[in-house]
């Protein structure tokens, strides 16, 4: 098992490398530089800045330097937020993103699976259709639309929840962002679960279980659930990167200091260091997640273990 995990991690190093290289050069291909702005700088100053950030060296040299630093765990300076290194900023933003993202992740899994199971149990019944429609709405409405609507409704009309901000991580502040972030994933997961559950319920071993006189509950929980979860689990990997996509929006609208926003701003500001930093960071996140997914597979299906 550990052996396996270790290999997986090793095998992702080339992945990381490719991604970083790609970003590095793609980014430099893009027009505009970190120091272009409303007010153009005097040449002399531009040169000084360039020198300060090694931008005066050849692209390849810069690339080598960057990789070199990266190997020593140094993500380099931020071109824009000059008082912090990239690493520092990521570390500051990390907890927020992780908390919001993690809770959204958890919420979508729990709600999604429950909804899916209900849907499949009452297949084509009233609950199924109700859930189904709600789910679909969540699936089709873009989160940058849902967010302001919720803000208006819960924040301004009902005045139940704060409209935005971190508020020291008070639950009330977190609710809305988490919900907005989770909504589409609740939808996807419940759809997956429903489909899978219906399929599993048709399988022979469920018939056996019923012939053994087990109650509906224990059939679903003991026998049907695990196999049902397989497709859900395989969705978790992609879900991570979807969550990232979402966090870009959510953090902007709710004014949360997470790292989701960083990437957009960094890309727009040509903050090369920051962009690469976020990419590296997210890749590692996703890789780890996929690793967990594989381990979950093994847990769900003993046949994988022995294969």
């Amino acid at each position: 098992m550990f052996n396996y995990a270790f290999r997986r991690l090793l095998s992702t190093i080339p992945v990381l490398w490719i991604a970083i290289t790609a970003c590095f050069f793609v980014l430099r291909l893009a027009p505009g530089g970190p120091f272009d702005g409303e007010r153009p700088l005097p040449e002399a100053i531009k040169q000084n800045l360039a020198a300060h950030y090694n931008l005066d060296k050849s692209l390849f040299e810069q690339y080598i330097i960057y990789l070199g630093n990266l190997l020593q765990g140094d993500l380099g300076p931020s071109f824009i937020n000059q008082d912090f290194t990239v690493a520092e900023q990521l570390l500051v933003g990390l907890p927020y993103t992780l908390i919001i993202g993690g809770m959204a992740f958890f919420l979508s899994i729990v709600l999604g699976i429950t909804a899916g199971i209900l849907g499949s149990v009452y297949r084509n019944g009233i609950p199924d259709y109700l859930i189904g429609t709600v789910i679909l709405i969540g699936l089709v409405l873009p989160n940058f639309l849902v967010a302001p609507i919720l803000q208006l409704f819960f924040g301004l009309k009902l005045e139940w929840l704060p409209v935005g901000g971190w508020g020291g991580g008070a639950l009330s502040h977190i609710v809305l962002p988490v919900v907005v972030l989770a909504l589409p994933h609740i939808a996807r997961i419940s759809r997956l679960t429903r489909g899978a559950m219906i399929e599993v319920m048709h399988s022979n071993f469920i018939r056996t279980a019923r012939s053994k006189g087990l109650g509906g509950g224990s059939i679903v929980w003991r026998h049907a659930l695990k196999p049902t979860l397989t497709p859900v689990v395989s969705y978790l990997g992609p879900a991570a990167s979807y969550l990232l996509t979402g966090s870009l929006v959510v953090e902007t609208i709710f004014g949360l200091p997470g790292i989701g926003r960083y990437f957009i701003n960094a890309a727009l500001n040509r903050d090369y260091g920051m962009v690469l930093g976020t990419v590296v960071f997210y890749m590692i996140l996703i890789v780890v997640l996929n690793l967990i997914v594989d381990i979950l597979y093994a847990w769900l299906d003993p046949r994988v273990r022995s294969r």
Binding site: T208, K212, L214
Partner: protein
């Protein structure tokens, strides 16, 4: 000897089952009555779609929710159909339990055996874990599972097929139910294991007085197990009565047809005794003699097939002797020289090995699927190849047809080495040698009309033909294989299994091949269809002077059609002889076990038979030393992957080395009981 209702454990009256499907309402069961008395074994026979399973799934309330059930199902006075799910659950698994066909899919893959068994006890008897575990352990032992304790903590996929079915049975018996419903319990199993499972069930039934309902399509199994039989067709019972009544004086046409259709091997009541040495043998056991003893056999017309067989056998000895004795003594073999004029296919020391991964990171290991097989095939002859699952018979077929690249060895087609053929010549060969597959549906492209499927070979082999010409040829062949021309534009899923298989055969025949390999060609079909297809094959063989290689796990089918039979075990030949010779005096313990295990659709004979039981089950080819299973005495000195040498024990009768039977047989348990009369 109808049971009267009061002593009946289960009493089904006028049961109807309808299904609401996409294509309208389907009436699966039409007003059937069933009674079973305690300790009785009722056989329910019928072909696929006859509604035999539905009847009892309905009784158990296990049907999908698109089904509507009407009628009465009295179990000890309670009408199961009126019970709530909770009440029903109190009965299911406790007083009535079920065994299903496929033990792999029927067990929950992610739960340990122990857990799955214990939950039964915990649901029904509120038993503590410790006691439950005890009980399960004890039952695993009752069903003769080795190292029971260890099994409890294993997952289903870690057990062999036979073992899984044993677990199923143990699980079904845990609460010592009054009624055990077994739905095709042995269909998915190899014949030797089937024999053991059947014995086991019989045992349990007698020890615990459980009533057993045995749902099956196999007359042999019925003949062996059941006191009473009910024959089902199109959701109705066409005939019922005691075993003997049904088998010896069938009333209904359908029953007769079924019985006729079943291919049956001739067996002496006791295979155990050593066969007489060849010199004093007056040829193989006279066929007609046995036939007298079994009136049913008369219907089986012996004309052409026998003739063809005569033809073959007469031509055989020469070639075979040289060929295989060579092989036996391991001397190198020259394709051109010793080849007899009419030997069209010559296989020598053929090997196919696959690399397989075991475990996540274990190194690849070689699976020797075909392990040095050699034989000759004469024009117009039929060679049967028998073997249980994993014996590599299908691989052999594909290797011969060069669908799989053989690892080593020669396949010589009419003087040409196939192994070193160019693409062009290979095409020619493909035109000559065709194959028919097991699953009729899966062997046809669902996105093509059957007409196109049949026309395809023509496109390749006779590009000259225009559309009409092709259609004409197809139409001709369709008629020949007995397919209505009207079906030409239909799609496979619109045809019945039998029809599809005819299409498959027609496609194979389009290129007018000289060799036709049938890989389990009839195994997926109902007996009646099976018979027709066999018949068709015989006719075609006659008409086109085909050579057939007929591969099957079902000894009786092979017996039905073959002139010579080759018995495979773990990729190598254990015995090769003319059909009658093989059945008259099987030599190799494995062969004898096989023969003895085949159930014969004849209660008296079947129950009189004595079974040979060998240590252990069929081993996987990956298992080290598995090949030495019949040579335990020499395990010590021989290399672990040693392949026993084949030698000609009687003329044209080749047998692989083995220890004497006695040293291999398990502690003999008494022969199955005679049925009450």
């Amino acid at each position: 000897m109808m049971q009267s209702v009061e002593e009946a454990v289960l009493d089904i009256r006028d049961l109807n089952v309808r299904f609401q499907t996409n294509d309208g309402i389907v009436q699966a069961v039409r007003g059937v009555d069933v009674q079973v008395a305690a300790g009785e074994c009722l056989g329910v026979v019928g072909e696929s779609g006859s509604g035999k399973s539905q009847t009892f799934l309905a009784a158990m309330g296990l049907l999908a929710n698109n089904a509507t059930v009407s009628g009465r199902v009295e179990f000890l006075g309670q009408n199961l159909l009126e019970l709530s799910v909770r009440e029903l659950n109190a009965i299911r698994g406790r007083r009535i339990s079920m065994i299903f066909q496929d033990p792999l899919t029927a067990l929950t893959p992610h739960l340990r055996i122990g857990a799955q068994m214990q939950e039964v006890l915990q649901t029904h008897q509120r038993m503590s874990d410790r006691d439950a575990r005890q009980r399960c352990l004890q039952w695993l032992e009752n069903v003769r599972i080795p190292e029971a304790a260890h099994r409890l903590s294993q997952y289903p996929h870690e057990l062999s097929g036979g073992m899984r079915q044993r677990v199923m049975i143990a699980m079904a018996m845990l609460c010592e139910p009054q009624l055990l419903i077994a739905d095709e319990p042995t269909t998915a199993l190899d014949v030797t294991i089937q024999a053991e499972i059947l014995d086991l069930m019989d045992q349990l039934r007698r020890d615990h007085g459980t009533a057993v309902i045995l749902i099956t399509h196999d007359m042999g199994v019925v003949a062996r197990m059941c006191d009473r039989v009910q024959v089902m067709r199109h959701g109705e019972y066409v005939e019922q009565g005691s075993c003997e009544q049904v088998f010896y004086s069938a009333q209904h046409e359908y029953t007769k047809m079924l019985l006729d259709a079943v291919p049956r091997i001739q067996v002496s009541v006791d295979e155990a005794q050593e066969p007489m040495p060849v010199d004093e043998a007056q040829g193989p056991m006279p066929v007609d003699e046995t036939q007298e003893s079994m009136p049913v056999d008369e219907t089986q017309e012996p004309s052409e097939p026998d003739a063809s067989r005569q033809g073959d056998t007469s031509s055989l000895p020469q070639s075979d002797a040289t060929a295989l004795s060579d092989r036996a003594t391991g001397s190198s073999f020259d394709a051109q020289s010793g080849s007899a004029s009419d030997t069209i296919l010559r296989v020598r020391d053929l090997r196919v090995t696959f690399p397989v991964h075991t475990g996540w990171f274990a190194r690849k290991r070689d699976l020797r699927a075909v392990d040095g097989i050699g034989f000759d095939l004469a024009a117009g002859e039929t060679l049967g190849i028998v073997g249980e699952s994993g014996s590599g018979k299908s691989t052999l077929a594909r290797a011969i047809l060069q669908l799989i690249q053989p690892t080593s060895g020669q396949v010589n087609w009419r003087g040409q080495e196939l192994t070193d053929l160019g693409r062009q010549d290979l095409q020619k060969f493909r035109q000559d040698a065709q194959i028919v597959f097991q699953d009729p549906l899966a062997s046809l492209d669902p996105s093509m009309t059957v007409g196109d499927s049949m026309a395809e070979p023509l496109k390749v082999f006779e590009p000259g033909l225009d559309r009409q010409a092709r259609t004409r040829r197809v139409a001709g062949m369709m008629e020949r294989v007995g397919l209505p021309y009207t079906l030409i534009n239909r799609y496979p899923h619109e045809l019945s299994g039998g029809q599809n298989q005819r299409v498959g055969i027609a496609r194979a025949m389009m290129s007018r091949p000289r060799l036709l390999i049938c890989d389990e060609a009839v195994s997926a079909l109902d007996v009646s269809i099976q018979a027709q297809i066999l018949e068709l094959l015989k006719d075609l063989q006659q008409e086109f002077g085909l050579s057939l290689i007929f591969i099957s796990h079902d000894l009786s089918v092979v017996w039905e059609i073959s002139s010579r039979i080759l018995v495979m075990y773990l990729g190598s030949v254990v015995e090769l002889a003319s059909r009658d010779d093989l059945f008259a005096r099987p030599q190799h313990p494995y062969t004898r076990q096989l023969v003895s295990a085949v159930p014969v659709p004849d209660p008296v004979l079947e129950r009189a038979r004595h079974r040979i039981k060998l240590q252990g089950e069929l081993a996987s080819p990956m298992e080290a030393g598995a090949r030495l299973r019949f040579l335990p005495s020499r395990r010590a000195q021989l290399p672990i992957d040693y392949v026993p040498i084949l030698s000609e024990r009687f003329p044209n009768h080749f047998v692989a080395e083995h220890d004497p039977l006695e040293s291999l047989t398990r502690s003999q348990n008494k022969p199955a009981h005679k049925c009450s009369q």
